[in-house]
Each structure stands twice: as C-alpha cells, then as structure tokens.
Amino acid sequence: MPPALPPTNKSLPHPCPYPYSAMPLYGTALLAVCHLLGILLGELLGRALGVQANVGGVGIAMLLLMAARYHGHRRGWLEAKSEEGVHYWAALYIPVVIAMSMQQNVVKALSGGPMALAAAITAGAACAGCVSLINRREVVAPAETSAE
C-alpha cells in the first residue's frame, strides 16, 4: 500500500497531478540559465573591453534573475513552487561561503594581518560616520520612532 500523499496545491491554475512536482526544478533551471547568461555576457563584455577577465558576470546574472522574477510575477508564469528551487540555493549561500573559507590559503594570508584589521576598522568608522550624517538630515515624525 502506498504511503499517504500530501494534498496538491489547489490554488495553482494547473494543479500538478503529482504531489512531488518538478516545479522547484524550473526555478533552479531559471537560476541556472540566468547564471550562465550572466557569466557569458560578463565574458563577452570582458573581451569587448579588452580585459582577460569576466567583467561583472555574477552581477549581470543577478540583474537578469531579478528581471526574470519581476516579469514572471507580472505575466504569471512564475509560481511559488518554482521559486522554492531558487530559495533553496539562496539559503545554501552561507554554507557555500563557509566551504569557500575552508579552502583558502590562510597560512600565507596571515602575514598581512594588521592591514586587514586597519582597513576594516577605518572603513567601518567612515561608513558609520556617513550613516550618521545622512540620517541626521531625515525629519523624523514623533509617531514613527520606536516605542522600545
């Protein structure tokens, strides 16, 4: 006897007959297409500019994915179930960055320790100053301020 199947999502315009649908795959495939297109455009841009490098490929891919999502929501071809296929990879992003940190050449990099600290502290202080400067120009309505 087969195990009890979870109910299908009735709100979808074309309910998938199978509870374990392939729809997250569409999201991941969309992500993959945007990724590849972005990297390709980055490579082409690099060649056009005469650089032996990928110029902003990841950034272009992000913009493509944002555009695809905006378009998909407006035209209705992008469904919540498909988006899961992207959200999973977005959630994996921190673990992937951690794995990346595990394979860095830390031994050699440690010779530059003080520089990293000094640059980070200066940048942090300068940015805090800018945040303060910009936010002091905002007119805050009394009702908007936090009650805590």
């Binding site: 500019l49 490098a53 990841v58 992000m62 977005a90 794995a99 050699k108």
Partner: protein, 257 residues
Amino acid sequence: MESLLQKLAVDNGLVLSFAVVGAVVLCSGYISRKLTVGRVQGSAIAILLGLALAYVGGRMTGGNKGLADVTYFGGLALMGGNMLRDFAIVATAFEVQPAEARRAGWVGALALFIGTLLPFVIGVSFAYAFGYRDAVSLTTIGAGTVTYIVGPVTGSAIGASSEVITLSIAVGVFKAILVMVTTPLLAKFMRLGTPRSAMVFGGLAGTVSGVSAGLAATDRKLVPYGALVATFHTGVGCLVVPSLFFFAVRALFPAHA
C-alpha cells in the same frame, strides 16, 4: 578500515562536505548563542572557524587550498568552488523585491553608492600603504573592504592570487564582525530608528550578515529594510568593482612592464 573510509570520503566528496559544513554551522551557532549571547552572528563565526580550519589544513599539507588539500575533505573544493559559490550568490538576487526597493528612493541609491565607493577607496589606500602596487591586488583588497563576497568574486574575475583573495575575505569578515558588534552600540549615534535610516545603514554598512545581525541586535523591525539594501550592495559591488573600479585603479597604477 582506513582505506575503506578514505574511499568513502573521496567517492562522496561533495556529500561529505555538506555534512562537514553542517557540523561547523552547528558548532558556530552554539558558540554564537552561548559565548557571545547572539551578539556575533553564527555565520560570521562559522566563516572564522572555516578560515581557522583552512589554516590547520594548510599547515598539515603545505598546500594552498586549505582544508580541501586534506584527502578526506577534497569535496570542499567543489562545494566552495567558483561554480557553486556564484550560483548561490546569483540565487540571493531573488530576495530583492523591486517594489520595496523603489521605496528606498534616491537615499538608498546614494547610500549604496557611497557604501561601495568609500570602503573601496579606504581598502585600496591601506593596501597601497602596506606595499601592494599591482592593480589586481589593490582592487581585490578594496573589493574585500566593500564586502567579503565582492572580494573573492572580484579577485577570481580579475585573476588575483589566492593569498590576496584570502586577505580580501579577512578584511570583509573583520568588517562584518565589526558591524555586528558595534551597530547596537552606535545605533543612537547613527540615528537608527526608521525604515529609511535602516536602508541608509544597509547601503553603507554593506555586508548582509553584518547588517542583519547588527540590526537584529538593535531593533528587530528594521532588519528587512537594512537587509534589502544590503542585498543590492553585493550585486552592485560584483557589477561595478571588477569593471569600473578595476579600470580606474588600473589607470592610476599601471603595470611596471
């Protein structure tokens, strides 16, 4: 027995690395809650732990790929490699809502612009002061000062050495932790209290984990607003730094050929 385990680890490298990273995240979450009372976000501790493990791996093997050079952990090279890293970074673009973003208006864009340019200039200046003279290393360290994601993305795009990329991550991680720890302390000084102020903060402080953890420790309501602009930050950085900023730095510091 040992050869059996080794075969298992080598044949299932990527799967093993998921388990290894999961264990590291679990440990860092525990450290985050118990030792720092949630002040330092788990992900930042996990990255520091990862760098520490990479140091141990590098010392053990003498290689230049950290823990991934240890036979058992070779799968980390795939999980943390360029392909999956860029794939996951692109996926985070989905978290940006264009409708919400438009509400940030020109202040958010201004903060984003200053928040990319200012840390970059400071990072490049410090790299120059500490003896780096080639445009690729200067740009990569400047990029790392923007965020620890822009650093490695820029570094591998323009062909920086592994040491410089690691250094750029170190700068970014230091900055992220600094933001997490000091945001609640500086909240009054920075006038953090409204969604708009949080967006300005997100644009200028940059690192997503730093911003979300810093804001969470300050005022829970402000987290999405700050993170919204901060997610743009990485995209803008990844787009602008390896292209425009790199060309500018290369024009200022031409190669001595």
